[in-house]
């Protein structure tokens, strides 16, 4: 099973590399240089904070862009082009195929975030700010969030067309980060709105778990316990999304 899954993963990784997705890393570098050059004169003494804030936000948004453009499109595109039929008519299970796709895109994200992380560390190092452990922890958490979103995008990709799957993924990203605000809004209005926001908050992942940007910018520590819990939380959601995707995909007619 592992050989076939890894073969699909390798094929997916190669496809994304040849689709020139890594050009986005270049955009990230430009965003960092741009932010440092343009904003630094306005924030004397706080260049490190600007680089950290812009760097982590850009990393998350570019990663999200990859998830929306590639992850949400992944399975459906192969179904529409019928490349999937020649794969699934080999002795490859549908679960193996989905897992391979996930691992392939996951590897792409690991490489992309890794490269962006290196640029980020270099950029922070060029400022007067001290490079702390929390900077690396923040990069790791961005990666975890993207891996959760990728699993969700693959689930949506088995359910709907590329555009809808991308919209669902973007909504999940938005709701995942605005959960607390949604709860406040629901509590303020009461009634069914409170019930709906509470249900949404409970059944969808809380992506704020992976957002430690404020802590990094203000020099607060990110604890190892937080990282461990966030890792467990991410793995749990990835498993849930992938099992759901497998359940939907198993019944799909190709």
């Amino acid at each position: 099973m592992l050989t076939r899954t890894l073969a699909v993963a390798h094929g997916t990784f190669r496809e994304t590399v040849r689709d020139r997705l890594f050009y986005l890393v270049g955009f990230f570098g430009l965003a960092l240089v741009g932010a440092t050059t343009m904003l630094s004169p306005l924030t004397v003494g706080a260049q490190g904070k600007i680089v950290a804030d812009v760097g982590l936000a850009a990393m998350a948004l570019l990663g999200l862009l990859v998830v929306l453009l590639v992850g949400a499109n992944m399975v459906r595109k192969e179904m529409e082009r019928r490349t999937i039929t020649t794969i699934l008519t080999k002795p490859v299970g549908r679960g193996e195929y989905l897992l391979g796709k996930y691992l392939g895109l996951g590897l792409t994200l690991v490489c992309m975030v890794g490269l962006m992380g290196l640029l980020y560390v270099a950029a922070v190092g060029l400022t007067p700010a001290t490079l702390a452990w929390s900077h690396l922890a923040a990069v790791y958490l961005v990666l975890l969030e993207l891996l959760v979103l990728t699993a969700a995008a693959i689930l949506f990709s088995t359910l709907a067309g590329p555009a809808l799957a991308a919209v669902f993924s973007a909504m999940l990203f938005a709701i995942g980060h605005l959960g607390e605000s949604m709860l406040d809004f629901g509590a303020m209005n009461g009634g069914w709105q409170q019930a709906v926001t509470q249900v949404a908050f409970r059944i969808l992942p809380d992506l704020e778990v992976f957002n430690v940007r404020a802590a990094v910018v203000h020099g607060d520590p990110v604890t190892a316990t937080h990282l461990l819990l966030a890792t467990g939380y991410a793995i749990a959601w990835i498993v849930v999304f992938m099992l759901l995707a497998r359940g939907v995909f198993a019944r799909k007619e190709l």
């Binding site: 050989t3 094929g11 190669r14 019928r82 039929t85 020649t86 008519t89 002795p91 007619e253 190709l254």
Partner: protein, 330 residues
């Protein structure tokens, strides 16, 4: 995963057995089932046989092939490949499949694509390299090993698709419209490949809506109309085999015509008052007959495939469908 023993043996059990296959696709928002794409279809294919599914567009050929490959789930009926339920992935361990108008990842080269499929089939590096080279040679694409698939023509992609179908040295080859999009040379090459595979003991099932393509290679043909089986014909037992029939307009004095035909070693299968029908076993015989007729000023108003019966039956079936309700396509 345990690979079933699909290695060619001489058992009489069919390689493929389809029994009572029934499939209607769900349509619309509520997923209501439409007209059946395939209705109570049953047939079996013996080892080493070339079996064709012949039918009009939307007859249910592709749905049948997809059900055999486990890509769609039948509502009723059973499908077994060498005794293994077709819904199980291991049933496809020694099955090669070419979809209609295959499309592959544009950024891969022909060689990389076959290497990828080789990995899915569990081949080691050496075996993948050897099979990739052999299969590309077999389909006349050896020189295109490093060509990006995005730069390949439709016909070239069809050949690469055929190469990936042959990669596993399959016992069962399933081809959906294998000759579509190919030029005459490519079509002949596909015919030769199919006959070569048959000579190696491979079982082939393919779909087509082009009668001459079917007659050229198939041992048996199942004629499908509106998802149902019209009849199965054994082309091996058909008089004239895969040959041709030429209709010669004969003059009142028939002796010269008889001499011309006899000189070519051919026989007259039907004698009307002013027209004789002559059987030609193959293109060579037909060519000689036509040349001889031309030299002797004998008009040949009609030439058709000896399997004209099949075409007539197929067309008669198609003409009869105008009055019947529309069916779902795959």
């Amino acid at each position: 995963m345990k690979t079933p023993d699909l290695v060619r043996n001489e058992s009489a059990a069919p390689v493929l057995a389809v029994q009572g296959l029934h499939k209607a696709y769900r349509r619309g928002f509520w997923g209501r089932r439409g007209a059946p794409a395939v209705a109570d279809l049953s047939f079996s294919v013996a080892r080493g046989e070339i079996f064709a599914l012949l039918g009009h567009n939307g007859a249910g050929k592709t749905t049948t092939l997809k059900a055999i490959l486990g890509l769609v789930r039948p509502e009723r009926g059973t499908i077994e490949i060498c005794g293994v339920d077709a819904q199980r992935p291991e049933s496809r361990a020694r099955v090669g499949y070419l979809p209609e108008a295959p499309y592959f990842h544009e950024n891969l080269t022909a060689g990389e694509l076959l290497d990828f499929y080789g990995k899915l089939l569990g081949m080691d590096r050496g075996r993948r390299r050897e099979r990739t080279r052999t299969c590309l040679e077999l389909v006349g694409m050896a020189s295109e090993f490093g060509r990006r698939l995005g730069d390949c023509s439709k016909g070239m992609r069809q050949r690469v698709g055929l190469a990936q179908a042959l990669l596993a040295e399959p016992d069962l080859l399933i081809l959906d419209e294998p000759q579509s999009g190919l030029d005459p040379l490519g079509r002949r090459q596909v015919r030769e490949i199919l006959l070569d595979q048959k000579s190696r003991g491979v079982t082939v099932i393919f779909s087509s809506h082009i009668v001459p393509d079917v007659e050229a290679v198939a041992d048996r043909v199942a004629m499908i109309r509106h998802g149902g089986l019209d009849e199965i014909r054994d082309l091996r037992r058909q008089p004239g085999g895969h040959g041709f029939q030429a209709v010669i307009a004969v003059p009142p004095d028939t002796s010269e015509t008889a001499q011309v035909i006899a000189a070519e070693g051919l026989t007259v299968s039907r004698r009307d008052s002013d027209r004789w029908t002559v059987d030609a076993a193959g293109p060579g015989d037909l060519g000689r007959l036509l040349t001889a007729c031309h030299l002797d000023d004998l008009p040949v108003p009609e030439v058709h495939s000896a399997g004209g019966d099949l075409e007539s039956i197929f067309l008669a079936g198609l003409e009869g469908r105008a009055a019947e309700p529309e069916v779902a396509s795959c």
